[in-house]
Symmetry: C3
Subunit: 464 residues, 3 copies
């Protein structure tokens, strides 16, 4: 069994000693700053109910498709991990992870998990077959303690703002209950994908439910009114943004008559593929229009083909590790939207990509002109130290630092939130230190930029 | 107010001390070399008339869409900067830049502007709200001095060749007037985009004007003759190249009959979108044919969607910061052209990209086979230290150094020319030094390569 | 004439001294490990017949399109190099290379050739005009010695496995003859492209020959049977994999009736472009099905447009330096195949790309979920130190190290095999050392990973 080891305090900082020294100073300036997390997927119930986290497997494995996917790729059956409603002994699931722990060497998931074990739970014993049970027991014991309950951790993590992601029909009672209960705020985010995409599961029923919820007529005007009403409901509960996950960020500007006719075909289930595509594109356009009206920041997470492997989706559901990025075209796709709303007063549109070729080619140039467009921080597969370095290198020379969104953790893995923000802070310190050493930035500017990037910047971009 | 600070003499060189020492030696070998600038946008009148530059705002801000775009993105109205014919007090415009100077931290524009202020104008006071007026006054005073007039700066910059970019109907009297007037040469470049693209503004009138200028019949043969005649006019005034800015580098080989029929439809304004696309593609093909005939180097700047935001284009005109890169396909697009002319004796085709994915995938492989194809230096959004490093890394292992074009500054910002060439020299020194330290190149080869790259190489590629 | 110089023992390792020290240790752990080469193009006859290599030009230049292409780009005619059946004095060809040796500075080809001259042939005199003849004579003398014959070099190189690439109708007698004759194994690889693509040269004749060879009926079922029979023949001769070189990795799942009808049209030469595309896509799908049945690992080398310059292909044949990468879409292209076979027991699908944008966007995410999918090592234009570094950076944070294929040399240049594997080992040592220094990996894990990557990993992936 290996020796326990302390995490390297200089981890993720550049190797060159002079650069590392500068990076260390920059990192120190933000290491303890409060966490602003304007986009993520933590279930609000966790905080609203404040129940102790379940077992280590449930907390670290079962719901983290970053982790389960790599186990799956190496031959572990999802059912053996307890996915898809299968029953699985948590301890066995944990042992499975421990047995495959070497797979995670060098990955972002592996790094975060080590950070969580060490930084949050105080466990520095390397994970492995021989230590699996001891680590499991230690985590299990910790989770039973009151200071590891969700709200206690929320406070310990120094979270100033945490946004959840919610269905438009959500009652948001959890958010209401949390108002004032914590030092930081917990805000809902309006995520209407399932109501905008006729190809989505149960679209017809959702459409009807949405109309019914707001007693709106079954017309396009009625549908838009219902959506606007739900947005207002979210705003009343503190929401500052809407989120849109799309395979293709296409938008389409339709006149009212065409839109009504299109809606009629869609609502009747009689629309062909071209019409369904047009509807999706027009709805994204309408979401921008509504944001111009009601002030909600619009975030677009584009370029992911969901549920690539249909048999897995059928058996185990969505978010089971086979959502795969595809090439993305923001420039032509968003043009109709930007022609109309790109310079609208106080409109904010944050673009997140998993096709990293768009950083230098599309997003930085767009954000370098349109006052509405912000460069979304590296997301999903790109939310890792090397990818963050490539991102900063790709966008900064064109658009500087001011057009970036600030980090978002985009996670359901509550315990990983500090690790993810810390990773971004270290990665940014590394990047900025290089610019300082290369004479492209002085250290005062570098410090101002990194401090801004973890506080005022996300607050400005997300109107917090 | 911050202290004045000297520019770091080692700026842009790598952090590692051993590598930096090698880079420093390489940089020294070319730091003072004459500037060969075979592609750019300085108005010939500036040099022909040699009038003192106007105010600091006019010189550094109003016409530099790299600068205005980032101000625009941060909420500054173009009209307030004096764009689109609006009147604006130059001092106020300058103050606006100073107030927003932090936006430019880490950008190429910010770096160049600091280089210009320090290197050309001797101003080391950091720009900011408190220093704005003093800096403005100092620049203003400098610009009034004879040694800051365009020709004096041309000589001081050590420019050996400077190419402008000109309309095919330009009389080139400015160039004629400059012949022999300067130690270096000022050459026109034939840029016929507006006469090749039926979707361009005023295309019909341009077509007629071109035919009229050369008394050519309104046939395709006549149109080609008129273009060839204008090229000959350019050659007589020293031109060595033509330049083609296209969204899509598609080419098409048509037989004479089809081309005549297509031209008839185009000239009659009766062509549909497919025909207009075919015409553009065939005209690019014809430009290559003419280059094979008359020896003009053909440069293609591809992959930019111009005027993304129509309302801004309508009010403020072209080149106002919303030309956005799109994905580019050189391999299939240029194939008809290369099938016919790719190995033609003495034909030079220089490919410039803003979609950097084509460097390793398309341009380096094409230039590594076709004797005509040269790898254009990083351009526009990619003309910056990190992007240059990515470029060298992407193309060198496949195509070495000999297939590259040498640096072009592509700028209208006359005072930024030394800074841009210096940046490229430093970035190349950094790249070469790394290869030396990694045992992939010896220092003699590295020095030969960097010396070649700023002198003989662009002269060979551009037939200077 | 320059001084002879020893190769830098630390070549390709990172500049930073601390990182270099770690990299050096990692490299040492694998520097002498046996070579596992599961994909390449060495003609089996060389080893079966074990004749001395011909002259230096034949060995190093004529058949190496990496070398001839760059000479061609610089104006050397292929005929003067002896291509296309032209006669050329080998010494003159060698002198041509020496005269143009500066073109190869910084290229992978130049690096490998220096490695071969120094490491295999013991020649440390720099190549150049003045040394050309002496170097030529030394090589020539070496090649005549028994210990430079193919089998002797095979043993000296420490090759444990060497895969060739073979036509489905190959009798594989060379492989049979070599069984047991060497310390390492020489295995055939089933490469059926010419039998799967109706647009390929002589497709009709090949189809008939294949059916005839296995006395199969001229139906689709018969054609599939014949292919399966040839695969079985390969398996009997030790084959572990099939290889598929495609421009577009599209796949298509057709029912039997449709496939039979499509085959009838194809066999009759009556298929249109859409049908031919469908046939290609369905055949790739069928190859996966057969791999599921017979266990052969399926490798796909995708995204190369072959024979870009038709006149050169006509005169000098295929593989003459103008195969050019194009954008590739693995995600949608392979989806039908992966829907059906992606989780099939023991199916291995290794994806090789020359469009490096797919590394982080497509291949790492696919390999991070599908147990069948492995990330092919950097290939062709990307098989070089910087490109390998970009590859590792692009895939590791998502998919770790376990999902990679291990290095393949993909080469016909037999003498370059040690140099290519050594390059990959050094590049991996450099990458891993950085992760260690950045606190992302401990040195024990790094050593385990690099040792695995040159031995057990390719053996697992290629079922050796």
């Amino acid at each position: 069994m290996r020796e326990p080891r302390r995490r390297d305090p200089d981890r993720l900082l550049p190797a060159d000693p002079t650069t590392r020294a500068v990076a260390r100073e920059l990192y120190r300036a933000v290491a303890g700053a409060p966490i602003v997390s304007p986009h993520g997927h933590v279930p609000v119930e966790w905080l609203a109910e404040d129940r102790a986290f379940s077992d280590p497997a449930d907390l670290f494995i079962t719901h983290d498709h970053y982790v389960t996917r790599l186990l799956h790729a190496s031959g572990v059956a999802y059912a053996d991990l307890g996915l898809g409603g299968a029953s699985a002994d948590p301890r066995e699931v944990w042992r499975t992870l421990a047995r495959h722990w070497h797979l995670f060497a060098g990955t972002a998931s592996g790094y975060w998990l080590e950070e969580e074990l060490s930084g949050v739970l105080g466990i520095d014993v390397p994970l492995g077959v021989e230590t699996a049970d001891a680590v499991y027991d230690t985590i299990d014991a910790r989770l039973a303690q009151p200071d590891f309950a969700p709200r206690a951790l929320f406070e310990r993590f120094g979270i100033e703002v945490l946004a959840t992601t919610d269905d438009p029909l959500a009652d948001l009672q959890g958010h209401a209950r949390l108002a004032g209960a914590l030092a930081g705020r917990v805000l809902p985010t309006f995520r209407p994908d399932a109501y905008l995409d006729p190809d989505g599961a149960d679209f017809g029923q959702r459409l009807e439910r949405l109309l019914a919820a707001e007693s709106a007529p079954a017309t396009f005007a009625g549908y838009l009114d219902a959506l606007a009403a739900r947005r207002a409901h979210f705003i009343r509960h503190g929401a500052v943004s809407t989120d849109h996950g799309v395979e293709d960020p296409a938008t389409l500007d339709l006149d009212e008559g065409s839109a009504e006719r299109l809606f009629a075909a869609i609502a009747a289930g009689a629309a062909d593929a071209d019409q369904r595509r047009a509807f999706r594109a027009h709805m994204l356009f309408q979401m921008a229009r509504m944001s111009v009206d009601d002030g909600l920041v619009m975030t677009v997470h584009a370029g992911v083909l969901r549920n690539h492997h249909t048999p897995t989706a059928r058996r185990f559901g969505a978010d089971t590790g086979h959502d795969i990025p595809v090439r993305t075209d923001f420039v032509r796709g968003l043009r109709p939207l930007l022609e109309r709303f790109g310079t609208a007063r106080d409109f904010h549109l944050v673009l997140f990509a998993v096709d990293e070729t768009v950083y230098s080619r599309e997003i930085a140039p767009l954000a370098g002109f349109y006052p509405s467009v912000y460069i979304g921080a590296p997301w999903w597969f790109l939310d890792a130290p090397d990818a963050i370095a490539r991102f900063r290198s790709a966008v900064t020379e064109t658009a500087g630092f001011s057009r970036a969104s600030g980090f978002i953790d985009d996670t359901r893995a509550f315990l990983s939130i500090p690790a993810r923000h810390d990773t971004a802070r270290r990665a940014d310190a590394a990047f900025l230190a290089r610019l300082v050493i290369e004479g492209r930035l002085d250290d005062q500017d570098a410090e101002r930029i990194i401090v801004d990037s973890v506080g005022d910047q996300p607050k400005r971009v997300f109107k917090l």
